[in-house]
Protein backbone atom coordinates (compact mmCIF):
# COMPACT_ATOMS: atom_id res chain seq x y z
CA UNK A 1 0.00 0.00 0.00
CA UNK A 2 1.66 3.16 -1.08
CA UNK A 3 1.19 5.99 1.34
CA UNK A 4 0.23 8.63 -1.20
CA UNK A 5 -3.04 6.77 -1.79
CA UNK A 6 -4.18 7.30 1.78
CA UNK A 7 -6.86 9.86 0.96
CA UNK A 8 -8.27 7.44 -1.61
CA UNK A 9 -8.61 4.77 1.04
CA UNK A 10 -10.43 7.29 3.21
CA UNK A 11 -13.05 7.57 0.49
CA UNK A 12 -13.07 3.99 -0.75
CA UNK A 13 -13.48 2.39 2.69
CA UNK A 14 -17.12 3.42 3.15
CA UNK A 15 -17.88 2.84 -0.53
CA UNK A 16 -16.59 -0.73 -0.54
CA UNK A 17 -18.18 -1.44 2.80
CA UNK A 18 -21.53 -0.28 1.46
CA UNK A 19 -21.75 -3.28 -0.85
CA UNK A 20 -20.94 -5.69 1.94
CA UNK A 21 -23.48 -3.99 4.15
CA UNK A 22 -26.06 -4.62 1.45
CA UNK A 23 -25.05 -8.24 0.91
CA UNK A 24 -24.46 -9.30 4.51
CA UNK A 25 -26.88 -6.96 6.26
CA UNK A 26 -29.69 -8.56 4.29
CA UNK A 27 -28.96 -11.83 6.11
CA UNK A 28 -28.46 -10.53 9.60
CA UNK A 29 -28.55 -7.08 11.06
CA UNK A 30 -25.69 -7.99 13.37
CA UNK A 31 -23.35 -7.21 10.50
CA UNK A 32 -24.44 -3.61 10.15
CA UNK A 33 -22.83 -2.00 13.17
CA UNK A 34 -19.35 -3.51 12.89
CA UNK A 35 -19.10 -2.93 9.14
CA UNK A 36 -20.36 0.65 9.14
CA UNK A 37 -18.55 1.74 12.27
CA UNK A 38 -15.36 -0.08 11.35
CA UNK A 39 -15.07 1.54 7.95
CA UNK A 40 -15.90 4.98 9.27
CA UNK A 41 -13.45 4.63 12.14
CA UNK A 42 -10.79 3.69 9.62
CA UNK A 43 -11.72 6.69 7.49
CA UNK A 44 -11.58 9.01 10.47
CA UNK A 45 -8.14 7.83 11.51
CA UNK A 46 -6.80 7.91 7.97
CA UNK A 47 -8.23 11.36 7.31
CA UNK A 48 -6.59 12.65 10.48
CA UNK A 49 -3.28 11.29 9.21
CA UNK A 50 -3.90 12.98 5.85
CA UNK A 51 -4.62 16.28 7.57
CA UNK A 52 -1.51 15.92 9.71
CA UNK A 53 0.60 15.26 6.66
CA UNK A 54 -0.87 18.22 4.80
CA UNK A 55 -0.27 20.56 7.73
CA UNK A 56 3.29 19.34 8.02
CA UNK A 57 4.36 19.30 4.40
CA UNK A 58 1.74 21.17 2.42
CA UNK A 59 -1.00 20.09 0.07
CA UNK A 60 -0.55 17.92 -2.96
CA UNK A 61 -2.35 16.94 -6.14
CA UNK A 62 -3.20 13.43 -7.17
CA UNK A 63 -3.98 12.08 -10.60
CA UNK A 64 -6.39 9.19 -10.82
CA UNK A 65 -5.19 6.53 -13.21
CA UNK A 66 -1.73 8.09 -13.49
CA UNK A 67 -2.62 10.37 -16.40
CA UNK A 68 -1.15 13.83 -16.49
CA UNK A 69 -3.75 16.33 -15.27
CA UNK A 70 -5.82 17.74 -18.08
CA UNK A 71 -6.22 14.26 -19.58
CA UNK A 72 -7.06 12.31 -16.47
CA UNK A 73 -9.09 13.38 -13.49
CA UNK A 74 -7.19 15.28 -10.88
CA UNK A 75 -7.82 15.31 -7.17
CA UNK A 76 -6.60 17.97 -4.81
CA UNK A 77 -5.59 17.41 -1.21
CA UNK A 78 -4.88 20.78 0.31
CA UNK A 79 -5.53 22.25 3.74
CA UNK A 80 -9.17 22.95 3.05
CA UNK A 81 -10.07 19.60 1.51
CA UNK A 82 -8.12 17.67 4.15
CA UNK A 83 -9.95 19.59 6.85
CA UNK A 84 -13.29 18.84 5.19
CA UNK A 85 -12.32 15.17 4.91
CA UNK A 86 -11.69 15.01 8.64
CA UNK A 87 -14.91 16.87 9.35
CA UNK A 88 -17.00 14.58 7.15
CA UNK A 89 -15.58 11.36 8.49
CA UNK A 90 -15.89 12.39 12.14
CA UNK A 91 -19.39 13.78 11.77
CA UNK A 92 -20.41 10.68 9.84
CA UNK A 93 -19.00 8.44 12.55
CA UNK A 94 -20.93 10.26 15.26
CA UNK A 95 -24.10 10.33 13.19
CA UNK A 96 -23.84 6.63 12.40
CA UNK A 97 -23.57 5.69 16.08
CA UNK A 98 -26.85 7.38 16.75
CA UNK A 99 -28.49 6.37 13.49
CA UNK A 100 -27.97 2.69 14.29
CA UNK A 101 -30.43 3.05 17.11
CA UNK A 102 -32.99 5.25 15.41
CA UNK A 103 -32.99 3.21 12.20
CA UNK A 104 -33.67 0.13 14.30
CA UNK A 105 -36.74 1.87 15.66
CA UNK A 106 -38.01 3.56 12.50
CA UNK A 107 -37.05 1.34 9.59
CA UNK A 108 -37.23 -2.27 10.69
CA UNK A 109 -36.45 -4.64 7.84
CA UNK A 110 -34.96 -1.93 5.65
CA UNK A 111 -31.89 -1.15 7.71
CA UNK A 112 -29.41 -2.74 5.33
CA UNK A 113 -30.74 -0.60 2.46
CA UNK A 114 -30.64 2.46 4.67
CA UNK A 115 -27.04 1.93 5.70
CA UNK A 116 -25.91 1.06 2.20
CA UNK A 117 -27.22 4.39 0.96
CA UNK A 118 -25.82 6.06 4.05
CA UNK A 119 -22.29 4.83 3.42
CA UNK A 120 -22.44 5.66 -0.27
CA UNK A 121 -23.58 9.15 0.62
CA UNK A 122 -20.60 9.55 2.94
CA UNK A 123 -18.24 8.31 0.25
CA UNK A 124 -19.85 10.69 -2.24
CA UNK A 125 -19.36 13.65 0.08
CA UNK A 126 -15.71 12.71 0.55
CA UNK A 127 -15.30 12.43 -3.19
CA UNK A 128 -16.87 15.84 -3.67
CA UNK A 129 -14.40 17.37 -1.30
CA UNK A 130 -11.44 15.85 -3.08
CA UNK A 131 -12.21 16.41 -6.72
CA UNK A 132 -10.63 19.09 -8.88
CA UNK A 133 -12.50 18.29 -12.05
CA UNK A 134 -15.59 20.24 -13.00
CA UNK A 135 -17.49 17.34 -14.54
CA UNK A 136 -16.50 14.82 -11.91
CA UNK A 137 -17.97 17.24 -9.42
CA UNK A 138 -21.31 16.98 -11.22
CA UNK A 139 -21.30 13.19 -11.10
CA UNK A 140 -20.48 13.17 -7.40
CA UNK A 141 -23.09 15.83 -6.75
CA UNK A 142 -25.64 13.52 -8.30
CA UNK A 143 -24.47 10.60 -6.15
CA UNK A 144 -24.96 12.58 -2.99
CA UNK A 145 -28.30 13.87 -4.25
CA UNK A 146 -29.68 10.53 -5.36
CA UNK A 147 -28.79 8.86 -2.07
CA UNK A 148 -30.29 11.79 -0.19
CA UNK A 149 -33.52 11.56 -2.20
CA UNK A 150 -33.76 7.92 -1.28
CA UNK A 151 -32.92 8.42 2.38
CA UNK A 152 -35.51 11.17 2.69
CA UNK A 153 -38.19 9.23 0.83
CA UNK A 154 -37.79 6.36 3.30
CA UNK A 155 -39.51 8.53 5.90
CA UNK A 156 -43.15 8.29 6.80
CA UNK A 157 -46.18 10.30 5.74
CA UNK A 158 -45.36 13.31 3.63
CA UNK A 159 -41.71 12.39 3.23
CA UNK A 160 -42.07 11.10 -0.38
CA UNK A 161 -43.72 14.35 -1.40
CA UNK A 162 -40.93 16.37 0.21
CA UNK A 163 -38.42 14.12 -1.48
CA UNK A 164 -40.04 14.64 -4.87
CA UNK A 165 -39.90 18.40 -4.43
CA UNK A 166 -36.26 18.00 -3.54
CA UNK A 167 -35.72 15.92 -6.70
CA UNK A 168 -37.18 18.66 -8.88
CA UNK A 169 -35.25 21.45 -7.18
CA UNK A 170 -32.08 19.38 -6.90
CA UNK A 171 -32.25 18.47 -10.58
CA UNK A 172 -32.67 22.11 -11.51
CA UNK A 173 -29.58 22.87 -9.46
CA UNK A 174 -27.56 20.03 -10.95
CA UNK A 175 -28.69 20.84 -14.50
CA UNK A 176 -27.75 24.49 -14.05
CA UNK A 177 -24.35 23.45 -12.79
CA UNK A 178 -23.92 21.09 -15.74
CA UNK A 179 -24.96 23.87 -18.13
CA UNK A 180 -22.32 26.10 -16.60
CA UNK A 181 -19.73 23.39 -17.09
CA UNK A 182 -20.94 22.97 -20.66
CA UNK A 183 -20.52 26.65 -21.40
CA UNK A 184 -17.03 26.59 -19.93
CA UNK A 185 -16.19 23.46 -21.88
CA UNK A 186 -17.37 25.02 -25.12
CA UNK A 187 -15.21 28.05 -24.46
CA UNK A 188 -12.07 26.38 -23.14
CA UNK A 189 -12.18 22.75 -24.26
CA UNK A 190 -11.14 21.35 -20.93
CA UNK A 191 -12.74 20.21 -17.68
CA UNK A 192 -9.88 20.32 -15.21
CA UNK A 193 -10.41 23.29 -12.88
CA UNK A 194 -6.79 24.39 -12.85
CA UNK A 195 -6.60 24.02 -16.62
CA UNK A 196 -9.75 26.09 -17.12
CA UNK A 197 -8.29 28.76 -14.84
CA UNK A 198 -5.11 28.76 -16.93
CA UNK A 199 -6.99 29.18 -20.22
CA UNK A 200 -9.70 31.63 -19.11
CA UNK A 201 -7.67 34.85 -19.01
CA UNK A 202 -6.53 34.34 -22.61
CA UNK A 203 -9.87 33.87 -24.31
CA UNK A 204 -12.27 36.48 -25.48
CA UNK A 205 -15.89 35.83 -24.76
CA UNK A 206 -16.87 37.49 -21.55
CA UNK A 207 -20.57 36.81 -22.07
CA UNK A 208 -20.29 33.03 -22.19
CA UNK A 209 -17.89 32.89 -19.25
CA UNK A 210 -20.07 35.16 -17.15
CA UNK A 211 -23.10 33.05 -18.02
CA UNK A 212 -21.20 29.93 -17.04
CA UNK A 213 -20.23 31.43 -13.69
CA UNK A 214 -23.77 32.59 -13.05
CA UNK A 215 -25.29 29.20 -13.82
CA UNK A 216 -22.75 27.25 -11.79
CA UNK A 217 -23.31 29.52 -8.82
CA UNK A 218 -27.09 29.46 -9.06
CA UNK A 219 -26.99 25.69 -9.41
CA UNK A 220 -24.94 25.35 -6.27
CA UNK A 221 -27.13 27.87 -4.44
CA UNK A 222 -30.19 25.81 -5.19
CA UNK A 223 -28.39 22.76 -3.83
CA UNK A 224 -27.32 24.56 -0.68
CA UNK A 225 -30.71 26.27 -0.18
CA UNK A 226 -29.69 29.89 -0.11
CA UNK A 227 -32.69 31.92 0.98
CA UNK A 228 -35.02 32.50 -1.95
CA UNK A 229 -34.13 29.06 -3.32
CA UNK A 230 -34.55 27.22 -0.03
CA UNK A 231 -38.11 25.99 -0.51
CA UNK A 232 -37.29 22.30 -0.55
CA UNK A 233 -35.04 22.13 2.49
CA UNK A 234 -37.26 22.49 5.56
CA UNK A 235 -39.77 19.76 4.73
CA UNK A 236 -37.16 17.46 3.22
CA UNK A 237 -34.91 17.58 6.28
CA UNK A 238 -37.63 17.56 8.88
CA UNK A 239 -39.60 14.67 7.35
CA UNK A 240 -36.58 12.48 6.64
CA UNK A 241 -35.99 9.48 8.89
CA UNK A 242 -34.12 10.69 11.97
CA UNK A 243 -30.99 8.79 11.07
CA UNK A 244 -30.87 10.33 7.61
CA UNK A 245 -31.37 13.87 8.89
CA UNK A 246 -28.49 13.32 11.29
CA UNK A 247 -26.10 12.88 8.41
CA UNK A 248 -27.66 15.07 5.76
CA UNK A 249 -28.38 18.18 7.81
CA UNK A 250 -24.89 18.80 9.17
CA UNK A 251 -22.99 17.89 6.02
CA UNK A 252 -24.92 18.44 2.81
CA UNK A 253 -25.21 22.23 2.83
CA UNK A 254 -21.73 22.72 4.25
CA UNK A 255 -20.11 20.58 1.61
CA UNK A 256 -22.00 22.51 -1.04
CA UNK A 257 -20.64 25.75 0.38
CA UNK A 258 -17.19 24.22 0.22
CA UNK A 259 -17.92 23.41 -3.43
CA UNK A 260 -18.92 27.00 -4.07
CA UNK A 261 -15.60 28.12 -2.63
CA UNK A 262 -13.76 25.49 -4.67
CA UNK A 263 -15.49 26.41 -7.93
CA UNK A 264 -15.15 30.14 -7.37
CA UNK A 265 -11.49 30.19 -6.52
CA UNK A 266 -10.17 27.24 -8.49
CA UNK A 267 -11.74 28.27 -11.78
CA UNK A 268 -12.11 32.02 -11.54
CA UNK A 269 -9.71 34.52 -10.09
CA UNK A 270 -10.36 36.75 -7.11
CA UNK A 271 -9.86 39.66 -9.42
CA UNK A 272 -12.55 38.45 -11.83
CA UNK A 273 -15.03 37.59 -9.09
CA UNK A 274 -14.82 40.59 -6.83
CA UNK A 275 -12.97 43.49 -8.37
CA UNK A 276 -14.31 43.57 -11.91
CA UNK A 277 -17.91 43.51 -10.77
CA UNK A 278 -18.16 45.15 -7.35
CA UNK A 279 -21.90 45.55 -7.88
CA UNK A 280 -22.42 41.80 -8.17
CA UNK A 281 -20.30 41.19 -5.09
CA UNK A 282 -22.21 43.60 -2.89
CA UNK A 283 -25.49 42.45 -4.41
CA UNK A 284 -24.81 38.90 -3.28
CA UNK A 285 -23.85 40.05 0.21
CA UNK A 286 -27.12 41.97 0.36
CA UNK A 287 -29.04 38.92 -0.83
CA UNK A 288 -27.33 36.81 1.83
CA UNK A 289 -28.18 39.39 4.50
CA UNK A 290 -31.82 39.50 3.45
CA UNK A 291 -31.83 35.71 3.39
CA UNK A 292 -30.48 35.53 6.94
CA UNK A 293 -33.15 37.90 8.22
CA UNK A 294 -36.03 36.17 6.41
CA UNK A 295 -34.96 32.65 7.35
CA UNK A 296 -34.55 33.66 10.99
CA UNK A 297 -37.98 35.26 10.96
CA UNK A 298 -39.46 32.11 9.45
CA UNK A 299 -37.76 30.03 12.14
CA UNK A 300 -39.68 32.04 14.75
CA UNK A 301 -42.96 30.85 13.28
CA UNK A 302 -42.25 27.14 13.67
CA UNK A 303 -43.81 24.98 16.36
CA UNK A 304 -41.67 21.91 15.85
CA UNK A 305 -38.08 21.56 17.02
CA UNK A 306 -36.75 19.89 13.88
CA UNK A 307 -38.51 22.30 11.53
CA UNK A 308 -37.13 25.21 13.50
CA UNK A 309 -33.63 23.77 13.20
CA UNK A 310 -34.00 23.44 9.43
CA UNK A 311 -34.82 27.12 9.10
CA UNK A 312 -31.78 27.91 11.20
CA UNK A 313 -29.74 25.87 8.71
CA UNK A 314 -31.08 28.08 5.91
CA UNK A 315 -30.04 31.17 7.86
CA UNK A 316 -26.59 29.72 8.47
CA UNK A 317 -26.16 29.14 4.74
CA UNK A 318 -26.67 32.88 4.36
CA UNK A 319 -23.90 33.52 6.93
CA UNK A 320 -21.38 31.49 4.99
CA UNK A 321 -22.30 32.66 1.49
CA UNK A 322 -22.18 36.24 2.72
CA UNK A 323 -18.87 35.60 4.45
CA UNK A 324 -17.31 34.23 1.30
CA UNK A 325 -18.58 37.13 -0.81
CA UNK A 326 -17.38 39.80 1.64
CA UNK A 327 -14.18 39.59 -0.39
CA UNK A 328 -11.73 40.02 2.43
CA UNK A 329 -9.59 37.52 4.23
CA UNK A 330 -11.31 37.98 7.60
CA UNK A 331 -14.71 37.21 6.17
CA UNK A 332 -13.32 34.26 4.24
CA UNK A 333 -11.64 32.90 7.38
CA UNK A 334 -14.89 33.30 9.23
CA UNK A 335 -16.84 31.51 6.51
CA UNK A 336 -14.42 28.58 6.38
CA UNK A 337 -14.29 28.30 10.16
CA UNK A 338 -18.05 28.52 10.24
CA UNK A 339 -18.34 25.56 7.87
CA UNK A 340 -16.59 23.44 10.51
CA UNK A 341 -18.42 24.95 13.46
CA UNK A 342 -21.82 24.90 11.86
CA UNK A 343 -21.47 21.25 10.89
CA UNK A 344 -20.66 20.42 14.52
CA UNK A 345 -23.42 22.63 15.97
CA UNK A 346 -26.03 21.21 13.62
CA UNK A 347 -24.79 17.72 14.41
CA UNK A 348 -25.07 18.37 18.13
CA UNK A 349 -28.59 19.79 17.89
CA UNK A 350 -29.83 17.07 15.54
CA UNK A 351 -28.32 14.35 17.72
CA UNK A 352 -30.19 15.82 20.66
CA UNK A 353 -33.36 16.01 18.59
CA UNK A 354 -32.87 12.38 17.55
CA UNK A 355 -32.48 11.33 21.18
CA UNK A 356 -35.61 13.21 22.19
CA UNK A 357 -37.54 11.79 19.26
CA UNK A 358 -36.40 8.30 20.18
CA UNK A 359 -38.04 8.65 23.60
CA UNK A 360 -41.00 10.92 22.88
CA UNK A 361 -41.88 10.07 19.30
CA UNK A 362 -42.54 13.73 18.56
CA UNK A 363 -40.71 17.01 18.50
CA UNK A 364 -43.62 19.45 18.75
CA UNK A 365 -43.00 22.17 21.27
CA UNK A 366 -45.94 21.27 23.51
CA UNK A 367 -44.59 17.74 23.90
CA UNK A 368 -41.28 19.06 25.16
CA UNK A 369 -42.64 20.17 28.53
CA UNK A 370 -40.56 18.90 31.39
CA UNK A 371 -37.99 17.45 29.06
CA UNK A 372 -35.09 18.70 31.17
CA UNK A 373 -36.15 16.53 34.06
CA UNK A 374 -36.72 13.58 31.86
CA UNK A 375 -33.52 13.66 29.85
CA UNK A 376 -31.02 15.88 31.69
CA UNK A 377 -27.90 14.67 29.92
CA UNK A 378 -29.36 15.06 26.46
CA UNK A 379 -30.69 18.49 27.24
CA UNK A 380 -27.38 19.63 28.74
CA UNK A 381 -25.69 18.80 25.46
CA UNK A 382 -28.56 20.42 23.59
CA UNK A 383 -28.01 23.59 25.60
CA UNK A 384 -24.34 23.66 24.67
CA UNK A 385 -25.31 23.32 21.02
CA UNK A 386 -27.92 26.04 21.40
CA UNK A 387 -25.43 28.40 23.03
CA UNK A 388 -23.05 27.76 20.21
CA UNK A 389 -25.75 28.49 17.66
CA UNK A 390 -26.54 31.75 19.46
CA UNK A 391 -22.85 32.57 19.67
CA UNK A 392 -22.12 32.61 23.37
CA UNK A 393 -18.35 32.68 24.03
CA UNK A 394 -16.26 29.77 24.79
CA UNK A 395 -18.43 27.76 22.36
CA UNK A 396 -17.31 27.42 18.79
CA UNK A 397 -20.14 29.40 17.25
CA UNK A 398 -18.95 32.61 18.85
CA UNK A 399 -15.54 32.64 17.21
CA UNK A 400 -16.62 32.13 13.64
CA UNK A 401 -19.39 34.66 14.06
CA UNK A 402 -16.81 37.07 15.45
CA UNK A 403 -14.68 36.68 12.34
CA UNK A 404 -17.71 37.11 10.11
CA UNK A 405 -18.78 40.30 11.90
CA UNK A 406 -15.25 41.69 11.79
CA UNK A 407 -15.11 40.89 8.08
CA UNK A 408 -18.41 42.66 7.55
CA UNK A 409 -17.20 45.76 9.38
CA UNK A 410 -13.89 45.69 7.52
CA UNK A 411 -15.59 45.70 4.14
CA UNK A 412 -18.25 48.18 5.18
CA UNK A 413 -21.20 45.85 4.66
CA UNK A 414 -23.19 47.01 7.65
CA UNK A 415 -26.36 45.34 6.44
CA UNK A 416 -24.61 41.97 6.73
CA UNK A 417 -23.40 42.77 10.25
CA UNK A 418 -26.89 43.85 11.24
CA UNK A 419 -28.37 40.67 9.77
CA UNK A 420 -25.89 38.55 11.72
CA UNK A 421 -26.72 40.32 14.97
CA UNK A 422 -30.44 40.07 14.28
CA UNK A 423 -30.12 36.37 13.56
CA UNK A 424 -28.15 35.80 16.78
CA UNK A 425 -30.87 37.58 18.67
CA UNK A 426 -33.56 35.48 17.02
CA UNK A 427 -31.59 32.32 17.78
CA UNK A 428 -31.41 33.39 21.41
CA UNK A 429 -35.18 33.88 21.49
CA UNK A 430 -35.76 30.55 19.77
CA UNK A 431 -33.58 28.51 22.05
CA UNK A 432 -34.60 30.25 25.26
CA UNK A 433 -38.18 29.51 24.33
CA UNK A 434 -37.34 25.82 24.17
CA UNK A 435 -35.37 26.01 27.38
CA UNK A 436 -38.32 27.73 28.98
CA UNK A 437 -40.76 25.10 27.79
CA UNK A 438 -38.46 22.25 28.67
CA UNK A 439 -37.17 23.47 31.99
CA UNK A 440 -39.88 25.53 33.63
CA UNK A 441 -43.11 24.08 32.31
CA UNK A 442 -44.42 21.09 34.19
CA UNK A 443 -45.70 18.36 31.98
CA UNK A 444 -49.32 18.60 33.00
CA UNK A 445 -51.38 15.91 31.42
CA UNK A 446 -48.61 13.38 30.80
CA UNK A 447 -48.22 11.15 33.78
CA UNK A 448 -44.97 9.71 34.92
CA UNK A 449 -42.89 12.05 32.84
CA UNK A 450 -40.98 13.18 35.88
CA UNK A 451 -39.12 9.91 35.68
CA UNK A 452 -35.67 10.07 34.25
CA UNK A 453 -35.70 8.25 30.98
CA UNK A 454 -32.55 8.92 29.04
CA UNK A 455 -31.95 7.92 25.45
CA UNK A 456 -29.86 4.77 24.93
CA UNK A 457 -26.15 5.03 25.52
CA UNK A 458 -25.39 4.65 21.82
CA UNK A 459 -27.21 7.92 21.19
CA UNK A 460 -25.81 9.75 24.19
CA UNK A 461 -22.14 9.09 23.53
CA UNK A 462 -21.95 10.88 20.16
CA UNK A 463 -24.11 13.67 21.53
CA UNK A 464 -21.79 14.29 24.46
CA UNK A 465 -18.73 14.03 22.25
CA UNK A 466 -20.14 16.60 19.85
CA UNK A 467 -21.03 18.94 22.72
CA UNK A 468 -17.54 18.65 24.14
CA UNK A 469 -16.10 19.12 20.67
CA UNK A 470 -17.98 22.40 20.34
CA UNK A 471 -16.26 23.76 23.42
CA UNK A 472 -12.87 22.29 22.54
CA UNK A 473 -12.99 23.72 19.03
CA UNK A 474 -14.16 27.00 20.46
CA UNK A 475 -11.19 27.19 22.81
CA UNK A 476 -8.83 25.86 20.16
CA UNK A 477 -10.06 27.98 17.30
CA UNK A 478 -6.91 30.14 17.46
CA UNK A 479 -4.57 27.26 16.59
CA UNK A 480 -7.12 25.85 14.12
CA UNK A 481 -7.27 29.14 12.25
CA UNK A 482 -3.52 29.63 12.32
CA UNK A 483 -2.45 26.16 11.27
CA UNK A 484 -5.19 25.15 8.86
CA UNK A 485 -7.64 27.80 7.81
CA UNK A 486 -5.16 30.59 7.12
CA UNK A 487 -3.33 28.18 4.85
CA UNK A 488 -6.60 27.20 3.20
CA UNK A 489 -7.46 30.70 2.06
CA UNK A 490 -7.43 30.78 -1.71
CA UNK A 491 -4.66 32.62 -3.47
CA UNK A 492 -5.22 36.34 -3.87
CA UNK A 493 -6.32 36.99 -0.31
Amino acid sequence: MSASNLHMYVMIAPLLTAFFVNLLGRRSRAWLAPLALGSLAFSSLASLVVLGRVVRSGGYRYTVGNWTPPFGIELVVDHLSALMLVLISLVALAATLSALKSAEQELPGREHLFFTLYLILIAGLMGLVLTADAFNLYVLLEITSITTYGLIAMGKGRAPLASFNYIIMGSIGACFYLLGVGYLYLMTGTLNMADIARILPDISGGAAVATALAFMLVGLWVKMALFPLHGWLPSAYSLAPTGAALLVAPLMTKVTIYLMVRVMFSIFSVDYLFLQNPLVQSGIVWAAAIGIVCASALALAQRNLKRMLTYIIVAEVGYMVGGVWLANSTGMTGALLHIVNDALMTLCLFLAAAAIYYRLGSLDFDRLQGIYRKMPVTMAAFTVGAFSMIGVPPTAGFFSKWYLILGGIESGHWEYVAALLFSSLVNAVLFFRIIEIGYFFKSGEHHGHELREEAPLLMQVPLLISAVALIVIGLGSGPLVDSVIRMALPGGF
Partner: protein, 129 residues
Protein backbone atom coordinates in the same frame (compact mmCIF):
# COMPACT_ATOMS: atom_id res chain seq x y z
CA UNK B 1 -27.54 40.47 -44.09
CA UNK B 2 -24.89 37.89 -44.81
CA UNK B 3 -23.40 38.51 -41.41
CA UNK B 4 -26.72 37.80 -39.76
CA UNK B 5 -27.24 34.68 -41.82
CA UNK B 6 -23.75 33.49 -40.99
CA UNK B 7 -24.44 33.92 -37.29
CA UNK B 8 -27.74 32.10 -37.58
CA UNK B 9 -26.22 29.18 -39.47
CA UNK B 10 -23.33 28.96 -37.02
CA UNK B 11 -25.38 29.16 -33.83
CA UNK B 12 -28.92 28.02 -34.53
CA UNK B 13 -28.42 24.60 -33.01
CA UNK B 14 -27.49 26.10 -29.64
CA UNK B 15 -30.57 28.31 -29.79
CA UNK B 16 -32.77 25.30 -30.43
CA UNK B 17 -31.30 23.58 -27.39
CA UNK B 18 -31.83 26.64 -25.26
CA UNK B 19 -35.47 26.72 -26.34
CA UNK B 20 -35.81 23.02 -25.50
CA UNK B 21 -34.20 23.56 -22.13
CA UNK B 22 -36.56 26.36 -21.34
CA UNK B 23 -39.57 24.21 -22.27
CA UNK B 24 -38.34 21.66 -19.77
CA UNK B 25 -37.52 24.29 -17.18
CA UNK B 26 -40.95 25.85 -17.46
CA UNK B 27 -42.57 22.45 -17.04
CA UNK B 28 -40.48 21.85 -13.92
CA UNK B 29 -41.39 25.06 -12.17
CA UNK B 30 -44.71 26.02 -13.73
CA UNK B 31 -46.74 22.81 -14.04
CA UNK B 32 -48.83 21.50 -11.18
CA UNK B 33 -48.89 17.87 -12.21
CA UNK B 34 -46.02 15.90 -10.74
CA UNK B 35 -45.56 13.67 -13.79
CA UNK B 36 -45.38 16.72 -16.02
CA UNK B 37 -42.66 18.08 -13.77
CA UNK B 38 -40.75 14.86 -14.20
CA UNK B 39 -41.17 14.98 -17.98
CA UNK B 40 -39.93 18.56 -17.91
CA UNK B 41 -36.85 17.38 -16.04
CA UNK B 42 -36.19 14.80 -18.74
CA UNK B 43 -36.56 17.39 -21.49
CA UNK B 44 -34.14 19.68 -19.70
CA UNK B 45 -31.54 16.95 -19.26
CA UNK B 46 -31.91 15.76 -22.83
CA UNK B 47 -31.43 19.27 -24.15
CA UNK B 48 -28.22 19.60 -22.16
CA UNK B 49 -27.05 16.27 -23.54
CA UNK B 50 -27.76 17.49 -27.08
CA UNK B 51 -25.84 20.67 -26.43
CA UNK B 52 -22.78 18.79 -25.25
CA UNK B 53 -22.86 16.32 -28.11
CA UNK B 54 -23.21 19.07 -30.67
CA UNK B 55 -20.13 20.70 -29.18
CA UNK B 56 -18.11 17.72 -30.34
CA UNK B 57 -19.10 17.90 -33.99
CA UNK B 58 -16.54 18.58 -36.69
CA UNK B 59 -17.69 18.98 -40.27
CA UNK B 60 -16.76 16.02 -42.42
CA UNK B 61 -15.17 14.03 -39.61
CA UNK B 62 -15.65 10.32 -38.95
CA UNK B 63 -16.56 8.46 -35.78
CA UNK B 64 -13.89 8.10 -33.09
CA UNK B 65 -13.27 4.42 -33.69
CA UNK B 66 -9.95 3.91 -35.39
CA UNK B 67 -8.02 1.09 -36.93
CA UNK B 68 -5.59 -0.02 -34.26
CA UNK B 69 -2.67 -1.17 -36.40
CA UNK B 70 -2.95 1.64 -38.89
CA UNK B 71 -2.90 4.22 -36.09
CA UNK B 72 0.04 2.56 -34.35
CA UNK B 73 1.97 2.65 -37.61
CA UNK B 74 1.00 5.98 -39.16
CA UNK B 75 -0.75 8.07 -36.56
CA UNK B 76 -3.99 9.91 -37.14
CA UNK B 77 -5.11 13.40 -38.05
CA UNK B 78 -7.17 14.78 -35.18
CA UNK B 79 -9.25 17.11 -37.36
CA UNK B 80 -10.67 14.13 -39.24
CA UNK B 81 -12.16 12.47 -36.16
CA UNK B 82 -15.09 13.64 -34.07
CA UNK B 83 -14.24 14.89 -30.59
CA UNK B 84 -14.83 11.89 -28.29
CA UNK B 85 -14.89 13.70 -24.96
CA UNK B 86 -18.48 15.07 -25.08
CA UNK B 87 -19.73 11.58 -25.94
CA UNK B 88 -18.03 10.18 -22.87
CA UNK B 89 -19.38 12.92 -20.65
CA UNK B 90 -22.88 12.48 -21.99
CA UNK B 91 -22.84 8.72 -21.52
CA UNK B 92 -22.35 9.52 -17.86
CA UNK B 93 -25.02 12.20 -17.90
CA UNK B 94 -27.49 9.85 -19.61
CA UNK B 95 -27.00 7.22 -16.95
CA UNK B 96 -27.44 9.81 -14.23
CA UNK B 97 -30.63 11.04 -15.91
CA UNK B 98 -31.98 7.49 -16.14
CA UNK B 99 -31.21 6.86 -12.48
CA UNK B 100 -32.92 10.01 -11.35
CA UNK B 101 -35.94 9.28 -13.51
CA UNK B 102 -36.18 5.82 -11.96
CA UNK B 103 -35.95 7.18 -8.45
CA UNK B 104 -38.49 9.90 -9.19
CA UNK B 105 -40.94 7.40 -10.67
CA UNK B 106 -40.63 5.19 -7.60
CA UNK B 107 -41.31 8.13 -5.35
CA UNK B 108 -44.26 9.14 -7.54
CA UNK B 109 -45.71 5.65 -7.12
CA UNK B 110 -45.35 6.02 -3.36
CA UNK B 111 -47.10 9.40 -3.50
CA UNK B 112 -49.89 7.95 -5.62
CA UNK B 113 -50.27 5.07 -3.19
CA UNK B 114 -50.62 7.55 -0.37
CA UNK B 115 -52.87 10.21 -1.86
CA UNK B 116 -54.51 8.60 -4.88
CA UNK B 117 -53.60 11.48 -7.17
CA UNK B 118 -50.61 13.15 -8.75
CA UNK B 119 -52.04 16.66 -9.06
CA UNK B 120 -50.18 18.90 -6.67
CA UNK B 121 -53.27 20.99 -5.91
CA UNK B 122 -55.35 17.97 -4.99
CA UNK B 123 -52.58 16.59 -2.81
CA UNK B 124 -52.25 19.89 -0.99
CA UNK B 125 -56.02 19.96 -0.56
CA UNK B 126 -55.95 16.49 0.97
CA UNK B 127 -53.13 17.52 3.26
CA UNK B 128 -54.97 20.63 4.34
CA UNK B 129 -58.03 18.66 5.40
Amino acid sequence: MDMVLAVIVAKYNYWVYVVLMMIGFYAMIGKRNLVKKLIGMNIFQTAIILMFVSAGVKHGAKIPILDKYEVLKHGVDATGVVNPLPHVLMLTAIVVAVSITGVALAILLRIYREYGTLEEDEILEKLGK
